[in-house]
Amino acid sequence: MEKDLNAKLEEAGRKKTASTKIDARLVGNIAPYAGLVLVVVVFAILTKGALLSVSNLQGMSSTVILTAMCAIGAVFVFGAGYFDMSIGGAVCLAAVLGAQAMIATGSFFVGFLAVLAVSIVLALLKSILAAYVNVPFFIFTIILSSIFSALVLVLMGNETTIYLRNAVKPLREFNFTEMSIISVVVLAAFFIFCVVVFKFTPLGLKAKNMGGNIISAKQSGIDTVKTTVKVFIMSALGVALAAFLLLLRTRTASASTAGTVGTDVMVALVLGGMPLSGGPRTKISAGLVGAVTITVLNSGLAILGLTTGQIQIARGLVFIVVVLVSSLSYRSKLLPR
């Protein structure tokens, strides 16, 4: 009797787990790529091929690099359960301060160090807020985001745009091909670096556990404060590289630099197949795949003649739909804690 029951229970358990597992995993793994293909095909048709023209591909590639860099780094932060809405602001602030450092010293290298330093200081600030203050973290990032924009305006003073062309002599300007090679190499290196850190060091495991259940993570003896600092540093590296590549390519910086990156990163992560609440389904590839998808989407809508405002609305709608659909299929919460 006892035995029968146990056997029955086990069987029931196995059946249930086996089927649910396959569905969820399969959907979770394939959906982002299917989404990307779908977006490309739909817009290629709607734009009668204009989406895939050489000039548009060139334009998209530089945007992809910028968004992907930020999004890949952000995977760590979001994965650990921190909803960071200030990434765009951080890129802008780092770029402007970096540009000013370049003009002041005439050196690209010093500028790069400045960009890196600014990003890391901002990351430390955010990790202190995230780890020690008992207020939902995303509230801070909303405030930080507006503080960053305000700081940029203060720093720029009367100028609207900082031009590096005349100030920084030592580095010649790159043509499109050279710039593309540099960007792709940097992006690939950063992507591989992040995958290694996420999969082959304990940081990924710790971040996923924190995002999944911070109480359990603490009770498992994970040092949540140190982990928090580390995930923000990873994100800061992405921000710094993005800001630097932006300066290298455009040789300008302004208050509107990287204006839509913040929201693009969030949409990218969701489109890339990870919940914004982080946790076990976090994956680095989400940053890259999602960045491509959202860029294609933006570009396609622009070619179709939508205004910036209309594109914003369309992106918002896509975001909501994806969050809805994924919350249905993953049965996991997507709201920030």
Binding site: K8, G212, Q219, G221, P280
Partner: protein, 501 residues
Amino acid sequence: MNEEKLIVETRDLCKNFGPTVALDHVSIKIYRGQITGLIGENGSGKSTITSILSGMQPPTSGEMFFKGKPHKPSSMIEGAKLGIGMIVQEQGTVPGISIAENIFLGSENKFGRVFINKAAMVKEAQKALDAIGFTGVDAGAPIESLNMQDRKLVEIAKTVYEDPEVLVVDETTTALSQKGRDIIYGIMRKMRDEDKAVIFISHDLEELMETCDTLTVLRDGVLITTLSKEEMDEDVIKRCMVGREMTGDYYRSDFSQPVSDEVVLKVDNITSGFGMLMNFSMELHKGEILGIGGLSHCGMHELGKALFGEMKLLEGEVVDTRTGDKVNSARGALLKGYGYVSKDRDKEALVLTASIADNILAAGYDKLQKGLFLLPGDTKKYVNGLVDELSIKCASPAQDVQYLSGGNKQKVVFAKWVGRNCDILVLDCPTRGVDIGVKAAMYQLIDRMRRDGKSIVMISEELTELIGMCDRLLVLKDGQLAGEFTHAGGMNENQIIDVMI
């Protein structure tokens, strides 16, 4: 039995929680003019039946009949309207309002549509309290003026006031003193004599045998048998509950070895931030299973957290006597060889959406780390080893923890600490919601650790397992030490309960 007196009947009632079967085709009949007892181990399905009956949750399948008609209550409110009243184990009063307001919570409209006539409400509430023989209280006083036991009596008054035809008393008596128990017994008998039905759930066999007219035994969601008053025999009931002869092997068998004098952990006069522990001290010896018992709110669960450095202490300290260091963070405790199994498995001990592997690794990754790196080959070997060792039933370690049964989930939690080979394990309700087979495996595992010289603190709400497993038992009451029992000096269940309450 006179079928005219039949008031509640269930036919093939089933309830599943995911893959866990809580009720398996249960057909039970409840009659008027009787007190029907329900007994069974934790997780046997007793409370599931009554919660379905009262409308708290729907069944997965099966039928219910109430007074001969199909019974499908959509909520507890509907259940109560139909005449099913329930007194539950957990605290059911709302703080911040008066006793009278608690009694008429949800039915304030009786005393005015817009403005409530408070005087009338208090007067009526006083009547409700008097009706159950709970005198000497002002119904207009805030609920906080009563202690936990008296608040329970307020709940009882509320339920009885609604004049139910079926009264469910769900493990209420454990929280009550003799006075409170006598009131409940009185109410149950009175209702029976008024030709109403009473369902009484309790862990206390003696109490059930004395009070009930029939006793139904459940095990793992299956109705095992129903015994009449004459058939009630302690040994028979126990055997039905656990499904086999109770032998010494279920718990540990040898208590002959003296425990080492070496103290590994010392709690020195601690008072916790939430005030659940007051000036509490204790010592844990090497190779000892130390039991901590008491009622739910006695502070024992906070003590468990404090031992693992997870509780803010206002005063006093927890000291690891082997190193002389204070234990004040989970990370610190872990590094000193401590492990902690939380009472709240799903909320605190596991990441439900994560895989078995990731959960186990959360506590053990540093043992596998090579320099900066954590290599998949090593983690796989580690996790597979533990899954085998603890016989965790799963398709693969990549499977999500959330779809495992309670027992298997608990095995995953244990695996976290078994893998680290912890010297000191703090177990808070380690067998809560775990089926009987896994329970036995857990006890064996705990006993094996003891024999390996590990020290174990076992916090539990089940007295039988504490008596069956512990060398020494500390009983807490209101955050303070109320009594200490040793196996050498004898552990008597009644004596222990006396100290608890």
